[in-house]
């Protein structure tokens, strides 16, 4: 009885098994995130993190532009794919996987990924367009170029300068106009002492802080006549005389004015930037009038009224010059625009890039105050400044940034930018916590970064 009936249900159950599998497969078809199905004529733009407003402005620009170009069926903007490493990871994944966006904004230097063949070299297309190589400031373009090829364009940029609280200056009887702002590090350090007040081990008020951010350190190095990376010779120069001198100056300053203890400063409040401390939640000292001045990027213009500072008149000034430096410089953190090597619509993407670097940059700047970098752009002042500080101040500030954009020092130009930056971060931490002397810490970072650079260059 057993045998004949055994075989039959066996086939039946195999079929039902297959059916079950098919049914479950069908059920999973109703997945939320549909694949980024990409077809010709549909233009896909990726954006790294950023505010809601940033996403909205970018989406609006792309939609408007696409509407004017009949050959394009539609356009899609994908916002908020995570920041920094998470975004890079998504982008690399998409490129290696063969389903990249047509174009993307990037907050990390394109050279690193460009040298690995991830991005299209734009030189041929640029030569035939209005945004040719002469229309970009050289210092800025350095962040996109490697061995004569351009792997992206810095369509807009945050530009670094000094910020100060004019009301705090005046309360101390110090002249608060831009021209009177300290011209050298020595002057700035002397001025800083005027403001600094300690209550036991708590820093109540401070003047200025010695610099300790790795990303923008290239500016301070240049202010002291030095360099972090020599792109012409493919050499890191972390431990050059000028850089060691710079950190010795900073540490000396720390010891004299801030009890030589960076942790005491950090416990007292967020003195390192114009923003609240992301880990401890302490509000920004600058906005509370507890810090007279700081080094920050132009993006602070867009953010400073959220949460609003307890004073009205902040102002901007060029960077002061270090002991071995000769002239002031500025620096940038650009919004780079790249076209993945296997983009399906490279020409359309480049056309959009042309628009974005010229007309688009104006709209962008009006809403989110990142400074347009192409020399063809004529600027109108950003709305947020006009609203809070009036037309004249807004115009004057815009003019100031346009000037600063012309003296940008080359930065973000290493093919191993992320690696070098992490090494530098570690060295800075060691220097300020006195775990190592500037000389030793920088030498260590130098050796590691140079080795990584050589490895990548070896091809």
């Amino acid at each position: 009885m057993a045998y004949p009936t055994f075989a039959k249900p066996e086939t039946l159950n195999r079929r039902s098994f297959l059916l079950g599998t098919a049914a479950t497969a069908a059920a999973t078809m109703t997945l939320p995130g549909a694949a980024f199905a990409q077809a010709k004529g549909q233009l896909l733009l990726w954006l790294p993190g950023g505010s809601d407003l940033f996403c909205k402005v970018q989406t609006g620009m792309l939609t408007d532009w696409t509407a004017k170009h009949k050959e394009l069926a539609s356009a899609e903007t994908v916002c908020g794919l995570g920041q920094d490493t998470a975004f890079n990871q998504a982008l690399i994944g998409a490129i290696t996987g063969g389903n990249p966006p047509d174009m993307s904004l990037l907050w990390d230097a394109p050279v690193s990924l460009g040298t690995q063949g991830a991005f299209l070299a734009l030189d041929d297309m640029m030569a035939k367009s209005i945004i040719n190589i002469d229309t970009w400031p050289g210092g800025l373009l350095a962040s996109c170029q490697f061995k004569g090829k351009t792997y992206g364009l810095p369509v807009t940029a945050g530009i670094y300068s000094m910020w100060y609280n004019a009301e705090m200056f005046e309360a101390k009887g110090i002249k608060s106009d831009r021209a009177s702002f300290p011209k050298t590090w020595v002057e700035m350090r002397a001025l800083s002492k005027e403001f600094t007040v300690w209550d036991g081990d708590t820093l109540k008020v401070a003047g200025f802080m010695p610099h300790r951010e790795a990303e923008s350190l290239a500016i301070w190095s240049a202010l002291n006549g030095g360099k972090l990376y020599d792109s012409a010779n493919y050499k890191y120069t972390f431990d050059s005389e000028e850089n060691i001198e710079m950190f010795n100056f900073f540490v000396d300053w720390m010891n004299e004015e801030y009890k030589g203890d960076i942790n005491l400063v950090d416990r007292s409040g967020s003195f390192a930037s114009g923003y609240a401390n992301g880990t401890t939640g302490q509000p920004a000292a600058f906005r509370e009038s507890r810090l007279a001045g700081l080094h920050s990027g132009s993006w602070l213009m867009g953010d400073i009224y959220d949460p609003a500072p307890n004073f009205t008149r902040w102002d901007l000034a060029p960077h002061p010059v270090g002991p071995s430096g000769s002239a002031t410089v500025s620096g940038v953190w650009p919004n780079w625009f790249v076209i993945p090597a296997n983009s399906l619509n490279p020409q359309a993407a480049f056309d959009y890039l042309t628009y974005l670097s010229t007309e688009g940059a104006v709209t962008w700047f009006e809403n989110v105050p990142d400074i347009p970098t192409n020399s063809l752009v004529k600027l109108a002042p950003p709305k947020i400044l006009v609203d809070h500080r009036g037309e004249e101040f807004a115009k004057e500030t815009t003019a100031f940034y346009s000037e600063q954009a012309k003296i940008v020092t080359p930065m973000w130009d290493s093919p191993v930018q992320g690696f070098g930056n992490d090494q530098l971060k570690l060295a800075i931490e060691k220097i300020y916590t006195k775990a190592a002397t500037p000389k030793d810490a920088l030498a260590e970072a130098q050796v590691a970064s140079q080795a990584e650079l050589d490895r990548v260059l070896a091809g």
């Binding site: 009885m1 057993a2 009936t5 055994f6 249900p9 066996e10 039946l12 159950n13 039902s16 098994f17 079950g20 599998t21 479950t24 059920a27 999973t28 997945l31 939320p32 995130g33 549909a34 694949a35 980024f36 993190g49 950023g50 505010s51 809601d52 996403c55 994908v78 916002c79 908020g80 794919l81 995570g82 920041q83 998470a86 990871q89 998504a90 994944g93 998409a94 290696t96 996987g97 063969g98 389903n99 923003y275 609240a276 992301g278 401890t280 939640g281 302490q282 509000p283």
Partner: protein, 286 residues
């Protein structure tokens, strides 16, 4: 247990020790609860109140508006991400139960050549750190163009998972073999035996596996972070992370989000405690 009770009633020494015992346990409980408590009260404070001194152990006023603020955020589509999490956890739990019950049944109740070898491989697979197989798998999914979808996250669960197979097998082993043999003699197919006779016997085990799968998937971070691309697609675990990394200073909204992420699991746990207990008790068995 009864002897315990009698002893405690009769000896005053035991009353003292019992008080000490509860004091110690309550202290431990307080330590374990502190982070939860802090998360919830921070969610009902303003950003400034969270950091104000002296410390407020209770929010005053209770800011109920934080709840609606969370649901109103466009850069943190909470409800959408909540739905994603439900879908993701549900699909994985379903797939896991189905596929692991198949494999576990085969390992526990059916005899075939190579079974012990395959089972040994299963144990080995349990020991492989996921990162080791991650890179090629990732590239593979990318090549298939499925990067950015839920496929890489859900599909594998329909093929089984070493840990749950191991766990289920323990339960399947306790099903009396006579039951299956009798069914076979009656001419039932193996599929029917599995479906109608064995599965009902291990219903509890399936619930346990489903619950574990739901909790693990709900909190899963690395996979969705890597495979999913848009805010609209993220489950809550990743949504919370990206929201925080972009809005580091909005602590109360972050905490509100964290609270609402944790609450469904807590509720689920409270209703199904005894299953969790049973699952954990078998986890440590050989």
């Amino acid at each position: 247990m009864t002897t315990d009770l009698i002893r405690r009633r009769t000896a005053p020494r035991h009353l003292v020790s019992s008080i000490i015992y509860h004091c110690v346990m309550l202290l431990f409980a307080a330590i374990f609860l502190l982070p939860f408590y802090w998360m919830v009260i921070s969610a009902f404070k303003s950003n400034i109140e969270i950091f104000s001194q002296p410390i407020a152990w209770f929010p005053d006023p209770i800011r109920w508006e934080n709840v609606s603020a969370l649901f109103a955020r466009t850069d943190f589509p909470f409800l959408r991400q909540f739905a994603n999490s439900v879908f993701y956890a549900g699909a994985v739990a379903f797939g896991t139960c189905f596929s692991c019950a198949l494999a576990a049944y085969s390992f526990a109740c059916l005899r075939w050549r190579g079974r012990n070898l395959v089972f040994a491989f299963t144990i080995c697979a349990l020991l492989i750190p996921p990162i080791v197989t991650f890179l090629p798998t990732y590239i593979g999914w990318s090549r298939l163009g499925l990067n950015g979808t839920y496929w890489p996250l859900i599909l594998p669960s329909f093929f089984g998972d070493a840990f749950y197979i191991f766990m289920l097998r323990q339960f399947f082993l306790s099903v009396p073999r006579e039951l299956m043999d009798a069914a076979r003699l009656d001419g039932a197919s193996e599929f029917r035996i599995w479906w109608q006779i064995v599965l009902p016997q291990v219903r509890v085990a399936l619930v346990i596996v489903a619950l574990f799968a739901i909790v693990y998937t709900w909190n899963e971070f690395f996979g969705p972070l890597i495979y999913l691309k848009t805010r609209e697609d993220f489950p809550l675990s990743v949504g919370l992370f990206t929201f925080r990394s972009q809005r580091a200073v909005e602590w109360s909204i972050s905490m509100m989000g964290a609270t609402f992420t944790a609450v469904p699991m807590v509720v689920l746990f409270l209703f199904t405690q005894r299953f969790f207990q049973q699952g954990l008790a078998t986890k440590g068995l050989k």
